[in-house]
């Protein structure tokens, strides 16, 4: 186990359900109702300082419970002003959290990283996962008239929803 994972598990205790390290990539699994507090700690704690949300996406494991997994990639990349101690820890961490089919929702992390805003909308658009506390939870890439969420594994591959013209 890497030093980072060890430190995280010590700090967060039972909020971390599982963890693994693979070729230098550290991953922790967090229960969906504790995502917000875990993320806040990961950002604020001086030994982690994950000040950058690199990516936020989701995976559909159809047939599994919980069906979805929201995946966050965090980085600590801060470079402080000259003179002060360099503060970048250069950590990288993947955080995963299971989300059930009903209710298909999880806390939004926009209050911690504003960068999450559009990424959460994208996940909502394509997977139908709602982010509680997001102030603008609507589609971002597809059109309003679109029904369903196309990256769900049970979205029919052949289903087409043209706005105009013959069905194609």
């Amino acid at each position: 186990m890497s030093d980072l994972l060890q430190a995280i598990e010590e700090k967060l205790g039972d909020a971390v359900e599982d963890s693994h390290a693979y070729r230098g990539d550290d991953t922790i699994l967090v229960s969906h109702d504790r995502v917000l507090e875990v993320m806040q700690t990961l950002k604020d704690d001086s030994s982690f300082r994950f000040n950058m949300l690199i990516d936020l996406t989701a995976v559909d494991y159809l047939g599994r419970d919980p069906r979805f997994e929201v995946v966050y990639h965090l980085g600590s990349v801060e470079v402080e002003a000259r003179g002060s101690e360099p503060s970048s820890l250069r950590h990288r961490l993947r955080v995963k959290s299971g989300v059930a089919e009903v209710p298909c929702e999880i806390d939004s992390v926009t209050s911690i990283w504003p960068a999450a805003n559009w990424m959460e909308r994208e996940v909502f658009d394509f997977y139908g996962i709602r982010f509680k506390g997001h102030d603008d939870m609507r589609r971002i890439l597809l059109y309003e008239e679109f029904q369903g969420h196309p990256l769900r594994k049970d979205y029919p591959k052949e289903r087409r929803q043209p706005l105009i013209g013959p069905r194609n």
């Binding site: 890439l141 597809l142 059109y143 008239e145 679109f146 029904q147 196309p150 979205y155 591959k157 289903r159 087409r160 929803q161 043209p162 706005l163 105009i164 013209g165 013959p166 069905r167 194609n168």
Partner: protein
Amino acid sequence: MSEKQEILRQGDDSFVTTRVDSVVNWGRKYSFFLYPFVTACCGMEFMSVAGPRYDLDRFGAALPRFSPRQADLLMVVGTISHRQAPILKKVYDQMAEPKWVVAFGACTCSGGPYNNYSTVQGIDTIVPVDIYIPGCPPRPEAVLDGLMKLQDKVQGSPGWSRPRHQETADLDLPIIEKPVA
């Protein structure tokens, strides 16, 4: 020899006779004003062909107009998503007659590599197309070949003043309010 015959004889070297169709079309085919509707990777190839190296200007089609109202050649370059389809149709409708449409690249011809929830399977389901240029993306030579084929088509089109909308009437597409399941 009548007076008229005399004039014609003297004019042998100074004028030619032709038909108004051919002369108007001849003018048109060497002076396209194109509207580049560029959405994806094919745009790179379009830039190359429109630049000095391949020089679209040799064919009189160099000046892009960024208002459809000033253009007569709609160059659709790149993947068209369903979300974008109404915009493409609107741009086409805003262009004044006479107008032509070139489908540039596999995506515009048929959807190209994409057959999924997001991609229009060929822009000819939305607007009428005059020339299809295949390739992903097409080589500049293919684009120039397509342009020359379009020139031939323009030269050969009868009734230069007839609006081409006639041909497109059967493509008069309703906006579908409810997406089909």
